[in-house]
């Protein structure tokens, strides 16, 4: 098969996007949506068709040289290796479903061209990240998804809050990008190339301390994109976008790009223990933090957003403890069930009459039983109910952490387990509040488009059965994913008993969370006091902290530079100089008094001075 066909994978969404940009506003919404869906679906089927190219070392292919100058060479080139295949399949697959869903979701929108164009472009950019064979091309995709996310979060731009959320997302992730860019520059300085495989291959030549710095920089980049501590504040706000966007970008794909990046660079990353520890620590901390926040959220999508953050924390943890397959495994399952949950949430919001607040929902189970069941599957996966995809992937990560055996790992493991409990609690809290109890919503709901409801089952299926991808030996699996990714060291050196014990522990935490949620929210009265919840609701008030710590000083700095620096100092100096000349000019001018006698005295003084000077000269 012609490797150049690989370029069609990202190119199809690009073409779709460009088509909709150029002509979308003149075509009917149906055609627009159809083009978008077709582009992504085509890309998905191509991925499947070209699957074989990705085996083993993978395939490298090159279209043209993007930037070439003085030793730098950045191609538009793809690296279709196992990691990329699996990721691109996930991206295109989930994206196809979400596109279809979106076609239904947006069918009342007057002009969806912008939406679908951006969505297509997003898929293109995401595929660039996934498939890029060099870091610069990856960076293109990296920024591209950032922009598309910006555009889509603020899609309903009339509300300033939405646009603000988009901007926040863009800028906060850009802070992360800054680190990635520095890492990129540094790597080029060190290796003279930006090709991923070369960098990975020669990473061992580097000084360990330098390596640590590089890894930390990469981590910074990943944190920004994946909403990890401390750059996580944008994700909850990003829920202002349309739900399919949240599902695609802020759950399944873009936010996992950070994880993907770290996996991509894993040969390099793994060489720095400090860096790895930092990654794991960030992951675990974020997981715990986000889970704690999710407990108190009131908006359905914000709950999911925090849960996404928390789950990505797990993935970081996985990378940090050295299991790429674990990370990728959780990434995949999470993509499925979280997309499912978001899309389900979209349906719920529709049904509840565009109501977001879960305290004002309830009793939806009777109204839409099918959605309930699908949502339940998602919740179970998220909470880590045994035998669901989420259960296996999460378990694999915790096992790996536990298996490392050192103190830090134990701590991380503990955090992971605690998080699992919290996850279970807030998942079921969500479920109960939305679907059980009395109907609390005031608005009348809309009917669901079939396009919306029928895209959920495949995802539900994928979520449920996702575990099969990397079924551990304990359950008779072959760990297909690990093998596909070429990870041989994934065999855990744990005794079976402790493995089982750990499983049991997980089960206990799952059950405990469920139980508490059941007791508290089975028949929820409607409101609960704020108190400590407001602290969690506000995400530990990180936003205000940043506002006080960074934004306000920044704004004052800006204003100071303008008024103080430019206007007062530089312009003041220049204008002051001008005024000085003017003033002196005024004095000199006043010498012309109009009096002849005075003018003649000027003569006399002049001649006196000259004579005096000549006298001095003559005497000398």
């Amino acid at each position: 098969m012609n490797p150049l066909l690989l370029f069609l994978i990202p190119a199809l969404p690009l073409l779709g996007g460009v088509f909709n940009v150029c002509f979308g506003s003149r075509l009917s919404p149906r055609i627009v949506a159809a083009v978008a869906v077709a582009a992504v679906a085509g890309s998905c089927s191509l991925t499947v068709a070209l699957w074989s190219l990705g085996a083993g070392e993978g395939t490298r292919t090159l279209l043209f040289s993007w930037l070439e100058s003085g030793g730098l060479r950045a191609d538009v080139g793809l690296l279709f290796d196992p990691l990329a295949t699996i990721m691109s399949l996930m991206v295109t697959g989930v994206a196809t479903l979400i596109h279809i869903y979106a076609a239904g979701y947006m069918q009342h929108d007057r002009n969806p061209a912008r939406f679908f164009a951006l969505l297509n472009l997003f898929v293109f950019a995401m595929l660039c990240i996934v498939l890029a064979d060099n870091l610069l091309f990856l960076f293109l995709g990296w920024e591209g998804v950032g922009f598309c996310s910006y555009g889509l979060i603020g899609f309903w731009y009339r509300k300033t809050a939405n646009a603000d959320a988009g901007r926040k997302a863009f800028i906060v992730t850009r802070i992360g990008d800054l680190f990635l860019a520095i890492a990129l520059l540094w790597l080029f300085r060190l290796f003279g190339t930006v090709a991923i495989d070369q960098i990975n291959g020669r990473a061992a030549e580097l000084d360990p301390q330098l390596l640590t710095v590089l890894v930390l920089l990469l981590l910074g980049g990943a944190c920004g994109k994946s909403a990890q501590l401390p750059l996580m504040t944008w994700l909850p706000d990003a829920m202002a976008g349309p739900t399919p966007v949240s599902a695609l970008i802020h759950a399944a794909t873009m936010v996992t790009a950070g994880v993907y990046l770290l996996c991509r660079m894993f040969p390099l990353v793994s060489l720095s223990p400090t860096g790895m520890a930092a990654i794991a620590l960030v992951g675990a901390a974020t997981a715990l933090y986000a889970a704690s926040c999710a407990v108190a959220q009131r908006e359905i999508k914000r709950v999911l957003a925090y849960s996404t953050m928390s789950q990505i924390g797990y993935m970081f943890l996985a990378v940090g403890v050295g299991t790429v397959s674990g990370a990728m495994f959780h990434l995949l399952t999470h993509a499925f069930f979280k997309a499912l949950l978001f899309m389900g949430a979209g349906c719920v919001i529709h049904l509840a009459g565009d109501e977001n607040d879960i305290y004002r929902m309830g009793g939806l189970k009777r109204k839409a039983p099918r959605i309930f069941w699908l949502f339940l599957i998602g919740i179970l996966c998220l909470a880590g109910a045994p035998l669901t995809g989420g259960f296996f992937s999460k378990d694999a990560i915790l096992l790996s952490a536990f298996a490392r055996g050192d103190g830090l790992s134990a701590l991380l493991w503990g955090a992971g387990v605690l998080t699992a409990g919290l996850t279970s609690f807030y998942s079921f809290r969500l479920l109960y509040l939305v679907f059980f109890g009395a109907e609390r919503q005031t608005e009348k709901g809309h009917a669901l488009s079939p396009l919306m409801s029928w895209t959920l089952p495949p995802l539900a299926l994928a979520g449920l059965l996702g575990g099969l991808l990397n079924l551990p030996h304990l359950f008779g699996g072959h760990q297909w994913l690990s093998h596909w990714l070429g990870e041989t060291a994934a065999e855990l050196a744990l005794p079976l008993a402790s493995e089982l014990g750990l499983l049991l522990l997980m089960l206990i935490f799952f059950g405990g969370g469920w139980l508490i949620a059941h007791l508290r929210y089975r028949n929820f009265p409607g409101e609960e006091r704020a108190g400590w919840r407001s602290f969690l609701l506000g995400g530990w008030h990180f936003d205000s902290l940043y506002e006080w710590l960074l934004l306000r000083p920044y704004r004052s700095l800006c204003r100071f530079c303008w008024q103080g620096g430019d206007k007062a100092l530089i312009d003041g100096m220049v204008e002051g100089l001008g005024r000085l000349w003017m003033d002196w000019g005024g004095y000199v001018r006043r010498l012309s008094t109009g009096q002849i006698t005075f003018y003649l005295q000027g003569f006399a003084w002049g001649v006196l001075l000259m004579l005096g000077w000549f006298l001095l000269m003559a005497v000398k």
């Binding site: 001018r589 006043r590 109009g594 009096q595 002849i596 006698t597 003649l600 005295q601 006399a604």
Partner: protein, 101 residues
């Protein structure tokens, strides 16, 4: 030898400065012009002295030109004085300061 050249020059210099002082101090237009005449006469003295010193006639000839020139100037100046006096009714130079600055 009659006198050293110095003495002639001293005398003419003093005369010149006296004329200048008159020009500077007086406000009456006519007095200013008289001051100028004194200055020019001092110059004449110098020239005649120098002419004698170098035993050349050129210096004296210059004095003649000076005189001719002076008379031309004086005629114009006095015409101007008459003209100005007719316009402003005064010969005080302080009155002529319409333009300044």
């Amino acid at each position: 030898m009659i006198v050293p050249l110095e003495h002639i020059l001293f005398l003419s210099a003093i005369l010149f400065v006296l004329g200048l002082a008159c020009v500077l101090a007086r406000r009456n237009l006519i007095m200013i012009l008289i001051g100028v005449e004194i200055m020019l006469n001092a110059v004449g003295l110098t020239l005649v002295g120098a002419s004698a010193f170098w035993q050349q006639i050129d210096g004296q000839i210059m004095v003649i030109f000076l005189m001719a020139m002076t008379s031309a100037e004086v005629s114009i100046s006095l015409a101007m004085v008459v003209y100005l006096n007719r316009r402003k009714g005064t010969v005080d130079v302080r009155a002529f300061d319409e333009m300044r600055g």
